[in-house]
């Protein structure tokens, strides 16, 4: 009896050391159980994609939490660690906020989707079909059709309805001037995306011409939207980069952002997130499930995950 106690004790110590080792080993390899916080903004594809990515993380055994957030302010939250990722960083609309937060430290670039984006002034396709401005989508057509695009407050000039000034500063007014269109056209800043879509709907009802800022992929693609072809974008052609500003928008990237701790706390989830890559068609599919098939965002995400296992399964490996 007397001899056995220390022996048993020794075994216990060894065993517990072993288990402790194995536990710490397991913790090192596996993701933390703290929830991954995914932001929800206010457009369909983003919301569905949030639930798709969340569903993927959950399949991998992670806890996920969704939080509504403003799409501009979210980068500051990612930087502070209150939000973990952002999966739709549009170059020309959010690029500024993204790089500002990155410069302050705390946000990392987690790769780029293969979807390319275009954010540009354009017209609903029926404007071209009704020939309200012969020659569109070539920009030179704008030189003599501004009468079809006037509004009460535009002072007799044609109006471009641009997004809020916070999106791309004075790029559009600069462009109007640089292309020599400023005696016939003026730029009005809308307050938000709602205003742009309302303008599209109202113009269609009334059958008047309208030139609005828009982007693709977007739900408006379904109704037909044509972007105006401006002189092609080259590096440094914009005024803030030293050019004269007489160029269109570049084909833009769609990036993913993450908090700097994400790779350390959730290595497996981070690897999957960095591999994750959606094409324009896939983003369109997700938006269509909600906008066309009128599904709930969560249901749409579940549906997409079910239909596309071969797409996302490899990312989780």
């Amino acid at each position: 009896m007397k001899l056995q106690t220390p022996k048993a004790f020794k075994t216990l110590v060894v065993a517990s050391c072993m288990s402790l080792l194995s536990v710490t080993g397991a913790v090192k390899a596996a993701d933390s159980t703290a929830p991954i916080v995914i932001p929800i903004h206010n457009w369909s594809s983003q919301v569905v994609m949030a639930y798709v990515i969340g569903g993927m993380f959950e399949k991998m055994g992670n806890n996920v939490e969704y939080v509504p957030a403003d799409s501009q302010a979210v980068y500051e939250s990612i930087r502070n660690g209150d939000v973990t990722i952002s999966h739709e960083v549009w170059q020309s609309t959010f690029g500024k906020s993204f790089y500002n937060a990155m410069a302050k430290g705390g946000v990392i670039d987690a790769g780029t989707h293969s979807a390319t984006t275009l954010e540009e002034m354009g017209v609903p396709t029926w404007v071209i079909e009704q020939d309200l401005c012969p020659g569109l989508p070539n920009w030179e057509a704008l030189k003599d059709c501004h009468e079809a695009f006037t509004t009460p407050d535009s002072g007799g000039k044609g109006r471009w309805l641009e997004g809020p000034q916070s999106w791309h500063g004075d790029t559009m007014p600069d462009r109007v001037k640089a292309l020599g269109l400023d005696d016939k056209w003026t730029v009005k800043f809308a307050g938000g995306a709602d205003a742009l879509w309302t303008e599209l709907a109202a113009a269609k009802k009334e059958g008047r011409g309208t030139i609005v800022f828009n982007w693709t992929p977007n739900f408006t693609d379904a109704d037909g939207f044509t972007f105006i072809e401006f002189p092609p974008y080259t590096d440094g052609c914009r005024i803030e980069d030293g050019g004269d500003g007489s160029c269109g928008s570049p084909k833009g990237w769609l990036k993913k952002a993450a908090n700097y701790k994400f790779p350390k706390t959730h290595p497996a989830a981070y690897t999957a997130f960095s591999k994750l890559d959606f094409s324009t068609t896939q983003i369109g599919q997700m938006a269509a499930l909600v906008d066309v098939d009128k599904m709930d965002h969560k249901d749409a995400a579940a549906q997409w995950l079910k239909d596309n296992e071969d797409v996302w399964m490899p990312w989780t490996k």
């Binding site: 933390s32 159980t33 703290a34 929830p35 929800i40 206010n42 457009w43 369909s44 055994g61 806890n63 939080v67 509504p68 957030a69 403003d70 501009q72 302010a73 979210v74 500051e76 939250s77 502070n80 209150d82 939000v83 959010f94 500024k96 906020s97 500002n100 410069a103 302050k104 509004t151 009460p152 407050d153 309805l161 809020p164 000034q165 916070s166 999106w167 009005k188 800043f189 809308a190 307050g191 938000g192 709602d194 205003a195 879509w197 309302t198 303008e199 709907a201 109202a202 009802k205 009334e206 739900f219 701790k261 350390k264 706390t265 906008d291 599904m295 709930d296 965002h297 969560k298 249901d299």
Partner: protein
């Protein structure tokens, strides 16, 4: 000449106007002329604020904190740890209330850990079936105020459930249930403190004015930096927004308590606390209850804005619906918000008015009948949900929770309504819109922008001087000077142009409606309920139809502002007219005036001070709407506040821009309030 000038105020005004026009004509627009525009000496101020906050939140007083997730010690500033601890607490409270009704795992996690909760999947609170929550609320209403309220509350909850808005509504409700009591309590305490100490009151008054006028958008970013993003941040922003009216009304109510009442309390041997709790607050309850009503209305009015910094629920669903122009769906969500507001308001009112019956001798069953009733509802609801789980095989159980999108919807009907509105009115409104913009708005806007800065100062300070003497003039001057020294003077002029046109329209409509409805009790009550509805109904929803009809123009902005800013004008007019003593009406009738004469020469003058305060509030409401106007598309201060969300100096810019808006309001407040007080004194009302 000078004597006549001293006696006749209208002569002073005419002289002021002549000087003003002269200055406008003489000074030519030029960037270098200080008389035209002052140099932006305060340009660096926002950047300093931003640097200060950054320093406080990211560098000051660093302490070492171990982060178990990355297994490293990190230097974290103390301030940040403190604010995050507050966030954690608020979030815990919200999650607790929420999960009680909807189920979840976060409350359990707060007492254990994510590791534990992940391993033990069974440890989840299941949530209550909606039938139980609705029944429970109805029983609570019944115990507070009888069957009528119970029916209303029950119907409201059933409506919310049947329309498939249960989950987001409860999410919203849970965050309001935390924010509103905190705001009420905080308001009550600050109000009492202000009542007790003159110094505190002097400090509080301007602070309250600023807090009420600063557009909520401008403190979203600071709140986000200090407290993070999520329901707690939404709740904190809501508390900042909802507390000021409570403080103000508490102070007002306590001050109105007649000294005899307080003395009677003292004579019966009340201690300090007893006097407050048993004598003063009950006597002042009428005003305090208006404060409670205002807090609840403001909380629900913040639902949409709070969702921009992470509040879950109806607000964010609403924004998503609007982004796709689904007006019908948005409208249904809006109705849910209004219903929650009315339910909370009526129930808190009933609770405050409930008298305790000290002498009732009741049996156990009588005393606990509501609890017993609730237990019955609880078991019946759970049983129903259990039975339901056999009936509904599609993966959702209607008797437990009606999922979003699976309830009844009337969206198609409302959508058709909007289409009808457009088809019927568009072409007739188009001509009006064109005329209004070209012949009214653009000339006014240009007139505002062509004022030299000296002329603006002369006019504003001159009016303040004539009304309130040198002190008022100096205060108004100082407020304007601050704005003039930022780089946003022109933007501020545009804000003032929008605000003043809106206030004129709202004032006329509000006073007219108020006068008509104050004639009898029923119409007065209808109007006040309408005021409550429009105050909580999210303005975002009517922005879309308005923009459809009037385009992305200043007309749309004005309509949005007018709908909201008419509320206080109407409300104060009703209250003012109803406060005219009945005996004066009779005295007038005996002197042989007809109804219209009585209105013109008795009621109107007597309720004028009240109406002036109403106009004052109209100014406040109009200014707080600049941000909503910016969402349509303006080029004023609001647009910049909106832009500060993405700006790298956003924290400072947003705050200073908000303060500029507040200072415009304070300057007008100074003039209107002084004048109203003088009138009151002259009429012997105070």
């Amino acid at each position: 000449m000078i004597e006549a000038l001293q006696e006749k105020k209208y002569l002073q005004f005419i002289l002021l106007l002549i000087i003003f026009i002269f200055l406008c004509k003489v000074i030519a627009p030029s960037d270098t002329n200080w008389l035209w525009r002052l140099p932006p000496l305060l340009k660096q101020f926002p950047i300093l604020i931003k640097d200060g906050i950054d320093y406080l939140m990211f560098e000051a007083w660093p302490i070492s904190v171990y982060d178990p997730d990355i297994e490293e010690f990190e230097q974290k500033p103390l301030m940040r740890q403190v604010t995050r601890a507050i966030s954690g607490f608020v979030l815990f409270m919200i999650e607790f209330v929420r999960e009680l009704m909807l189920g979840g795992v976060k409350t359990i996690v707060s007492f254990t850990s994510w590791d534990w909760a992940t391993e033990n999947k069974w440890a989840r609170w299941p949530g209550l079936p909606w039938t139980v929550v609705a029944g429970g609320a109805a029983i609570l209403a019944y115990s507070l105020n009888g069957i009528k309220l119970a029916l209303f509350v029950g119907a409201a909850f059933v409506y919310i459930a049947v329309f498939g808005q249960w989950e987001p509504s409860i999410q919203t409700l849970s965050f309001v249930l935390i924010a509103a009591p905190v705001a009420i309590l905080l308001g009550l305490l600050l109000g009492i403190w202000g009542y007790k100490s003159k110094t505190v009151e002097t400090i509080l008054n301007p602070l309250l004015n600023v807090a009420q006028i600063v557009p909520h958008f401008s403190y979203l970013i600071p709140v986000m930096v200090f407290f993070g993003i999520g329901d707690h941040a939404g709740a904190i922003a809501t508390i900042i927004f909802a507390t000021p009216p409570m403080v103000r009304l508490t102070m007002l109510g306590l001050k109105k308590v007649p000294p005899e009442v307080a003395e009677a309390g003292l004579m019966s041997g009340c201690g300090n606390w007893q006097l407050m709790r048993r004598v003063l607050i009950p006597t002042a309850r009428r005003d305090i209850l208006i404060g409670v009503n205002q807090v609840i209305m403001q909380c629900l009015a913040m639902v949409v804005i709070a969702s921009l910094i992470g509040a879950k629920g109806l607000g964010s669903d609403l924004l998503i619906a609007l982004n796709r122009l689904r007006i019908g769906l948005a409208l249904e969500i809006g109705i849910c918000i209004v219903l929650i507001a009315i339910v909370l308001d009526r129930m808190s009112l009933a609770w405050a008015n409930k008298q305790t019956d000290y002498f009732a001798d009741q049996s156990f069953k009588e005393r606990h009948k509501h609890l017993l009733l609730f237990l019955m509802v609880f078991f019946a609801g759970v049983l129903l949900a259990w039975v339901g789980s056999f009936f509904f095989k599609e993966g959702f159980n209607y008797l437990y929770l009606i999922p979003h999108n699976k309830g009844i919807t009337t969206a198609g009907f409302w959508q058709a309504g909007v289409d009808w509105l457009w088809d019927t009115f568009f072409y007739s409104l188009k001509g009006f819109n064109e005329w209004f913009i070209v012949d009214v708005l653009i000339p006014i806007k240009n007139a505002y922008l062509s004022m030299p800065v000296v002329a603006t100062f002369t006019l504003a300070m001159g009016v303040a001087f004539i009304v309130g003497g040198i002190r008022s003039a100096l205060i108004v001057g100082a407020l304007l000077l601050f704005i003039a020294l930022t780089e946003w003077w022109d933007r501020a002029l545009i804000t003032t142009y929008l605000m003043s046109v809106a206030v004129v329209i709202s004032g006329v409509i509000g006073i007219a409606m108020g006068t008509l409805c104050a004639q009898n009790k029923t119409t007065a009550r209808v109007l006040l309920t309408l005021c409550d509805t429009f105050q909580t109904f999210p303005s975002f929803i009517y922005l879309i139809p308005v923009m459809m009809l009037f385009g992305v123009t200043d007309t749309s902005v004005l309509i949005a502002i007018v709908i909201y800013a008419t509320i206080p004008a109407a409300r104060y007019t009703v209250e003012g007219l109803r406060s005219v003593p009945e005996s004066l009406h009779e005295a007038g009738s005996m002197a042989g005036v007809n109804r219209f004469q009585r209105w013109i020469s008795i009621e109107l003058p007597l309720s004028f001070p009240h109406m002036a305060l109403g106009i004052n509030q109209t100014v406040v409401f109009a200014l707080s709407m600049v941000i909503i106007g910016a969402m349509i598309g303006t080029d004023d201060l609001g647009q910049l506040i909106l832009g500060s969300l993405s700006d790298k100096d956003g924290v400072g810019n947003g705050l200073i821009l908000g303060i500029c808006v507040a200072f415009i309001g304070l300057a007008i407040d100074q003039i209107l309030r002084t004048w109203a007080n003088q009138r009151k004194a002259a009429l012997g009302m105070e």
